[in-house]
């Protein structure tokens, strides 16, 4: 059995209440359509909610330190992957390569020539047809 300090059930119900309040805020915040507020309420609060669950429900703080370090290492690798891949994925050209269909699709989108319905696509080398509009 677990060696963590036992809490009263009311403690967990209280945490659940906090999570629901945060959920409501994260849902309402983006409705104001202010970019920084959306980032803060949607993603900032997601981090807080995850922290509450990991600490209070998963009791990670009650596990040996090496478990915490192991989990932290996987998160670091995730950020390394992002930092390594994102510059190329997010660029439309680089040394000896270019994404012509993407450039055209993004130009068409910026010019309002492409709608936001579910069909077709507006980006990527393998979605060149979207540059000519949706099908």
């Amino acid at each position: 059995m677990s060696d963590h300090a036992e809490h009263d059930d009311s403690h967990y119900i209280k945490i659940w209440g906090y999570l629901l309040v945060l959920l409501a805020i994260s849902f309402v915040g983006p409705m104001f359509e202010i970019q920084w507020l959306t980032l803060l309420t949607a993603f900032g609060i997601a981090v807080v909610k995850a922290y509450l669950v990991v600490v209070n429900f998963m009791h990670i703080n009650m596990t040996p330190r090496f478990v915490i370090y192991t989990i932290a290492t996987t998160l670091v690798f995730m950020f390394l992957f992002f930092a390594g891949a994102a510059p190329d994925v997010m660029a439309d050209r680089g040394t000896n390569w270019i994404k012509p269909a993407w450039i055209e699709a993004e130009r068409a989108y910026a010019a309002g020539e492409v709608g936001g319905d579910a069909h077709g696509d507006g980006h990527g080398e393998d979605h060149g047809e979207a540059a000519e509009g949706h099908h």
Partner: protein, 191 residues
């Protein structure tokens, strides 16, 4: 002579093997979900049109499913507490409630997906929807796996046996909840 494998009873790392195993699984899951979500984020930031595609997802369904998963997580942690007190029957009941939450989540997702697919938003429609179905699909597979395992754990917990398993499946379930906590704003909120 005991028929239990030695690995289930030893704790050479200063932590019960089962608990170490579930954290090890979670570490590998972070890499899986992290890769998918990281790829989604970099594409989303690079392509303005993805915000328009994301506008087609229903935030109320996302909100409802988040509420369902958070509530099922509460039931899972209460089951753990009941197991700590040696109350296997209550732990089993709460695990059944958690499984019910998982099944409700899947039903809502099934309704949502059938609506989207019938309106042309299929996995092959474009890269956004490919990511959408892949990320949510992998997550749903974890919900299904969690529900199945939880039913087995509840069976033994009901007999007051192997109560340590209640904590183990609970930790896994909370992780599935944490993944959804990040999927919710990415797929439903940020338009």
């Amino acid at each position: 002579m005991s028929t239990r494998p030695i690995a289930t009873t030893r704790s050479a790392a200063g932590i019960p093997t089962a608990r170490l195993a579930v954290w090890w699984i979670i570490a590998s899951e972070i890499v899986i979900f992290g890769g998918v979500l990281g790829s989604y984020i970099m594409h989303r930031l690079a392509h303005g049109i993805w915000a328009d595609y994301a506008a087609n997802t229903n935030p109320w369904i996302g909100l409802t499913n988040t509420f369902v998963l958070l509530t099922s997580s509460l039931a899972a942690v209460l089951a753990h507490q009941a197991a700590e007190r040696g109350d296997g029957k209550r732990a089993a009941k709460l695990l059944y409630a958690t499984t019910g939450g998982g099944l409700l989540f899947l039903c809502i997702k099934g309704y949502e997906w059938s609506y989207e697919i019938s309106h042309g938003m299929t996995i092959t429609a474009n890269t956004f929807w490919s990511f959408y179905y892949t990320a949510a699909g992998i997550h749903a597979a974890h919900v299904i796996a969690g529900c199945i395992i939880m039913l087995f754990v509840a069976q033994t917990a009901k007999r007051n046996e192997e109560l340590h398993r209640v904590e183990i499946i609970g930790v896994y379930w909370h992780f599935v909840d944490v993944v959804w906590i990040f999927l919710f704003p990415l797929l439903y909120i940020a338009k």
